[in-house]
Symmetry: C2
Subunit: 424 residues, 2 copies
């Protein structure tokens, strides 16, 4: 759409720093501009008085379909959670379920300021379909497991490629997603790395999440998970690694040297008892850090504002250093750093000429943000996500004045409730 | 008011556990009842379909007047925060300022589900006045400092007593509040303990928050802050201790033996780099644990839902134990345990016959809570506070359908903005 945004406070990024500025902003079709419309052009005016206009947040690691299992298997040990909680449900759910559970995820994401997300899913085509219909900017991939991509894992790989062909669009991209080194062989990871290069695709996996994974890796391969994936050529600057909780110094050096991107999931890592990732150490060595919520079965929310605050507070507490992971850094991790990992630095996570119009509008007259002493601080430390009143993705409003415009919310509540009744 | 609440899911507490039940509930005047109205009685009906009705949360430690300094001095070391950030502002603010900054605090508290709070303030009479006008249930006290309560600290003590006489009411009680062992002498603490006994008042202080306090205490008195206060008779079951971060095993034994109540402030302790309180250890030994947000200058929000989630996640992460501080315990800490510390177990933090009608109503069809697999889990792990749609204190609605009924919000925004312009 063509939109002139007036009276707003705009969050800009320049020379490595975020800052706010009061100025007009334009949306031309699906991109951002600072250049006023010509007299001949038609446009709508959006009054952003008392609002912050900022880039939509990028949730760099989640499993959107898991909303069905929100608050379902809490306060139990990891094996109970996985084998008695999550997996039995996943086994019996029909693939169609994911269409509705994804939409429930999008409702929460949009309401709390997320416009892009990176997903690893397991339900054929439903994720791409739901994302495309809702208008979410999606980077999604079918979790790949097994010993050999072309035999043992072939069905899932074929599904991933099919999905890529059916739903790839301006707002929906695919990402090759081997699940983890404990569910896929080194051969499979090698094959995925080759396919990624051949097809020009990003690739992601879960890495170094819990101690069992680490111990098993040392026992089986005699090295750390990071060293293992490095050896087989999986790590490069198109590689996105979720978790990275258990890290040695030389693991961090490898991540830096290969240009791999790390997604930290502080709530999930804490909640499942895996601990805290060494974010300050990775930051210090120049590794690019992004933020993800992980799935709702282990978080139990998709709220990136909660995740930003948690990340900073946890590290200040651990390091006994109130200057650790300042708001400037954390808000960049959820925007600029994420765009870098996605190789979309000019399009996402930033308000600049020609970037995609993925914008969120926060009510600065929310008690939690007021007085507006330091808006960047407030995004990290005092916002809870409910301050987001409007959201636009690719130049199209998906929420305006708190109303979700592309989702039939009553239908989603009904369908998800029926699924919960039937399968949980 | 007289109210019949129909179609709601009610959070009840029995035999040490919270559970939910679908049933009608009644408000008669300012108390809760399970007994239907007689035919002759008049009442209004509240349709709580798709809503959870639960006791309002109790924020057991804050400094409400500090909202002016929200997001004002972040990401700096403790001494910068206190001496260059907070204190210069406190020194120049007129006492009238607190009337508006307290109301801003109440706006945030009510919107995020808090109905009672324990405050330590420094602005004569403004706190009691603001709380009484808004209808917040307040337990407030003037911070006391100095060497001798009756000479050096007399003015503040007299103010505290004056305030007590002017604003004490059914919803506003006073609590004697020596600031900390580093700002008040042992003599002052002893005098306060005697006054508290004589007047039948609760007493609170900040204790064992940071390492400087601990080290100085050992140097000056040769013992821990807990041992020091125990020796002079300050610790008993009418004593509320905020922070308790740096604790030895024998300190915990003393807290248990004296029946003192602990208020943990996880966000503030992490954010100022003080670390994490040993909550699981204190819980294990049977110490009564409550939750507080501390002031907005060190949090930077008054959202008890954020604080509950943070408390559990941090301890699961530290202990590498996903069963640590489960939702059942944490939600009790913010309700039942708090009421116990306030010696109001039959009146607050619980829905029972004859208890005060301090109720909050959450929209269960919020994306963050849906599906409603485990409502108690959702209160700890996935709620962000914005799910609260209505709030009642002492039988009177202070918010209904998201509208604040007892505060002129535009006026508060205006006045606080003017104060920020003038003094920050």
């Amino acid at each position: 759409m063509n939109l002139k945004i007036v009276n707003g406070t705009i969050l800009l990024y320049a020379d490595g720093a975020l800052k706010t500025e009061c100025r007009d902003l334009y949306v031309k079709g699906n991109t951002i501009s600072f250049v006023p419309f010509a007299e001949s052009e038609t446009y709508e005016t959006y009054d952003a008085k008392h609002q912050l206009v900022m880039p939509g947040l990028i949730n760099m690691h989640t499993h959107a379909y898991m909303t069905l299992m929100r608050n379902y298997a809490d306060d139990v040990c990891f094996t109970d959670w996985l084998f008695n909680g999550v997996m039995p449900i996943e086994d019996k759910l029909p693939v169609e379920a994911a269409y509705w559970t994804n939409q429930l995820a999008f409702m929460e994401m949009i309401k709390s300021g997320t416009t892009s997300y990176v997903d690893m899913h397991m339900y054929l085509k439903q994720s791409g379909k739901a994302a495309t219909e809702t208008g979410m900017r999606a980077f999604i991939g079918r979790g790949l497991v097994g010993d050999d991509l072309y035999t043992d894992g072939y069905e899932r790989f074929k599904q991933a490629i099919d999905e890529l062909e059916e739903y790839q669009s301006e707002t929906c991209e695919f990402i090759l997603s081997p699940h983890a080194i404990y569910s896929g062989s080194t051969k499979l990871f090698q094959q995925v790395a080759e396919e990624a290069k051949k097809r020009g695709l990003l690739h992601q996996t879960h890495l170094s999440e819990g101690m069992t994974e680490i111990n098993d890796c040392y026992e089986k391969y005699g090295k750390s998970p990071v060293a293992l994936l490095n050896e087989i050529g999986f790590l490069d600057d198109e590689c996105i690694l979720a978790h990275c909780v258990q890290m040695r110094d030389d693991d961090i050096d490898i991540l830096k040297a290969t240009g791999s991107h790390v997604v930290t999931n502080p709530a999930s890592n804490a909640k499942l008892g895996n601990g805290f990732a060494p974010i300050s150490e990775m930051k210090e060595k120049g590794v690019n850090i992004c933020i993800g919520t992980d799935g709702t079965a282990s978080n139990n929310t998709l709220n990136m504002f909660r995740e930003m605050g948690l990340l900073s507070l946890i590290h200040k507490g651990i390091q006994k250093d109130p200057t650790a992971l300042p708001a400037q850094y954390v808000v960049q991790a959820a925007t600029v750093n994420a765009a870098k990992a996605l190789h979309k630095e000019d399009q996402l996570g930033v308000i600049k000429e020609g970037a995609a119009a993925d914008l969120i509008f926060l009510d600065l007259r929310s008690p939690s943000l007021f007085p507006n002493n330091n808006i960047i601080s407030s995004l990290c430390y005092s916002a809870n996500g409910s301050e987001v009143v409007s959201s636009m993705i690719n130049g199209k409003f998906v929420m305006r004045k708190n109303e979700l415009l592309t989702i039939d919310t009553e239908k989603v509540y009904y369908e998800v409730e029926e699924l919960a009744k039937q399968f949980l």
